[in-house]
């Protein structure tokens, strides 16, 4: 380690940063359409079940892994997992598990941000374009406007670099003066903007006189009415995926933030507060803005889009509503802020990775990460510009792996290591210094029982499901026949697995160097 490890400045700052880590773009655009698409109120049953059975147990495991790793000077997942795993298996086996975790975490933190930073750039661009009224001209469809936007190098690169620059300076500021300060400013703003947008949404009245039944309240009814016939395995999978995505679990970034805690800092109450704040932003705020607006203007057929909902459907509605450019700017700025508070967590993970393995100072490490993100983000920007398409296949393919599949694999690895290898030592580790104590029955029932078993079932079912859809072929079914985009999908796969393999090797070398003696003897020497 090149520097003394930093700490959080205050408990409020820590919780806001952790909540900011979790509250992201997914809360405001992904959750509403998932709920609307998968049974409305009925979706909430598997959603809350997944929150309790997987989300909260994994959240506690990640906080505890991170705090314990920080005590031994680690800010990245590989060595943290190694330390707990070798309590249940020999160090030479534990290093393989740690290397896998470190490789997956590198894949997720580097590659999720490769496209996530672009979406933040789009939201920044659309904030400006809302204020200038650029998409208010009804002669151009907002769909065409979006296609023109992502094929316009000046917009795409300009706002992407702006987003990256904000992240760069925040990361250079460090934990207290960068990450914590950003969270203290942006998180309250997100909640205030959310409340203002809800008030505007619910006072829209009946914007389409030809359709008097299309109101924001009818939109709320649509999203909350339990349609039990839509509740099936796919909806359950969607609920589990949403919980992982929204809580930012299975990425390594919660562990990284928790590594800046002091060894006896509370993690149970802080972790649960983070979950509660995230759910407030998602279910209460996120569920009451986009879908009710879309429903009021477009009816039930207008609520099924994902990215299209934010960048195509809603702008067409901002054109028609009073103060539409202000409401539009506020909506996109809300998304930008939510995105930035999550992206900085992934950014900081990579800064910590560099600092942990080299003698690089934080500022230089931040610049290196900035350059890294430019390299991995280029294909995302170039695909629509060079191919003159708007399918975003490279982005979609990378997201399928690092924003979806790997989250489950990494989360499963973490909980197996804590629950089944670290075993009963995990409970006092979680409870140390905590105001609320996790009961023994909860630890045994969930962390050692239901949660890992359920995750294995979900992962197996998901793999079978996607295999049936021809997903694992070298030319997957969803892009078959499209000769222009096939190379972009294949390139995405090469990049994903290349980064993970490199991450595994880097982690292996790092753990081997730090714990050389016990790995040589294949016996645990440093007792936790």
């Amino acid at each position: 380690m090149s520097e003394k490890r930093e700490n959080w400045g205050s408990k409020l700052g820590l919780v806001l940063a952790m909540a900011g880590n979790a509250v992201g773009l997914g809360n405001f655009w992904r959750y509403p359409y998932q709920a609307a698409k998968n049974g409305g109120g009925a979706f909430m049953v598997p959603y809350f079940a997944a929150l309790i059975l997987m989300g909260i147990p994994l959240m506690l495991v990640e906080w505890s892994l991170g705090r314990m790793g920080g005590k031994y000077g680690h800010g990245t997942l590989g060595p943290m997992v190694y330390l707990q795993a070798r309590e249940g298996v020999k160090p030479r086996t534990a290093i393989l598990i740690g290397s896998l975790a470190g490789g997956l975490a590198l894949g997720v933190t580097l590659l999720v941000n490769s496209y996530y930073n672009h979406i933040i750039g789009w939201t920044m661009g659309y904030t400006v374009l809302s204020l200038t009224g650029a998409y208010m001209d009804p002669s151009i469809s907002t769909g065409q406007f979006f296609v023109d936007y992502i094929q316009n190098p000046a917009y795409v690169f300009g706002f992407w670099l702006l987003a990256l620059t904000v992240l760069l300076f925040t990361a250079m500021g460090g934990i207290q003066k960068g990450v914590e300060r950003m969270a203290k400013i942006l998180m309250p703003t997100i909640y205030v903007f959310g409340i203002i947008l809800i008030i505007r949404t619910l006072t829209l009245g009946t914007p389409n006189p030809a359709q008097p039944d299309w109101t924001p309240i009818a939109g709320l009814n649509f999203i909350w009415s339990p349609r039990w016939s839509d509740l099936n395995w796919a909806a359950t999978m969607a609920a589990c995926g949403q919980i992982f995505f929204t809580l930012s679990i299975g990425m390594g970034i919660i562990c990284n933030y928790a590594s800046y805690l002091k060894p006896d800092d509370d993690i149970v109450l802080s972790g649960l507060t983070t979950v509660a704040l995230n759910e407030l932003a998602e279910v209460v705020l996120g569920g009451t803005i986009a879908i009710p607006i879309a429903y009021a203007f477009l009816g039930p057929d207008g609520v099924g889009a994902s990215i299209g909902l934010s960048f195509i459907a809603l702008p067409s509605l901002f054109r028609e509503m009073g103060f539409g450019n202000v409401v539009g700017a506020m909506w996109f700025l809300l998304l930008a802020f939510a995105g930035l508070t999550s992206a900085i967590a992934m950014y900081n993970y990579l800064v910590a990775l560099i600092m942990e393995n080299t003698s690089t100072h934080r500022k230089n490490a931040s610049i290196m990460v900035f350059l890294g993100y430019i390299i991995v983000g280029l294909p995302v920007a170039l695909e629509p510009i060079l191919t003159k398409t708007a399918d975003l296949m490279y982005f979609t393919e990378v997201d399928n792996w690092v924003g979806n599949y790997f989250l489950f694999v990494l989360g499963l690895t973490e909980i197996i290591v804590t629950g089944w290898l670290f075993r009963e030592k995990g409970l006092p580790e979680i409870n140390r210094g905590s105001y609320w104590k996790v009961p023994t029955w909860f630890y045994k029932l969930f962390i050692q029982g239901i949660t890992p078993v359920l995750m294995i079932v979900v992962l197996v079912m998901y793999t079978i499901d996607t295999a049936k859809q021809g997903y694992y072929k070298w030319v997957p079914d969803f892009v078959a026949g499209n000769d222009v985009l096939i190379p972009w999908v294949q390139a995405g796969r090469v990049v994903v697995f290349g980064v993970v393999i490199i991450g595994c090797v880097i982690t292996y070398i790092s753990i081997k160097r730090t714990y050389k003696e016990e790995l040589d003897k294949n016996e645990v020497i440093i007792r936790l």
Binding site: L12, G41, F48, I217, W224, L269, T273, A276, L280, V284
Partner: protein
């Protein structure tokens, strides 16, 4: 809005807002 939808929404909102109030108040209490 149907009674079922309203019941779902109010229950979910109630649980979440209650959880936020409880955890934040405890956090403030223990921070002193």
């Amino acid at each position: 809005m149907s009674a079922g939808a309203l019941a779902f929404m109010i229950s979910a909102w109630g649980i979440i807002i209650g959880a936020v109030a409880l955890t934040l108040s405890q956090l403030v209490k223990h921070s002193k």
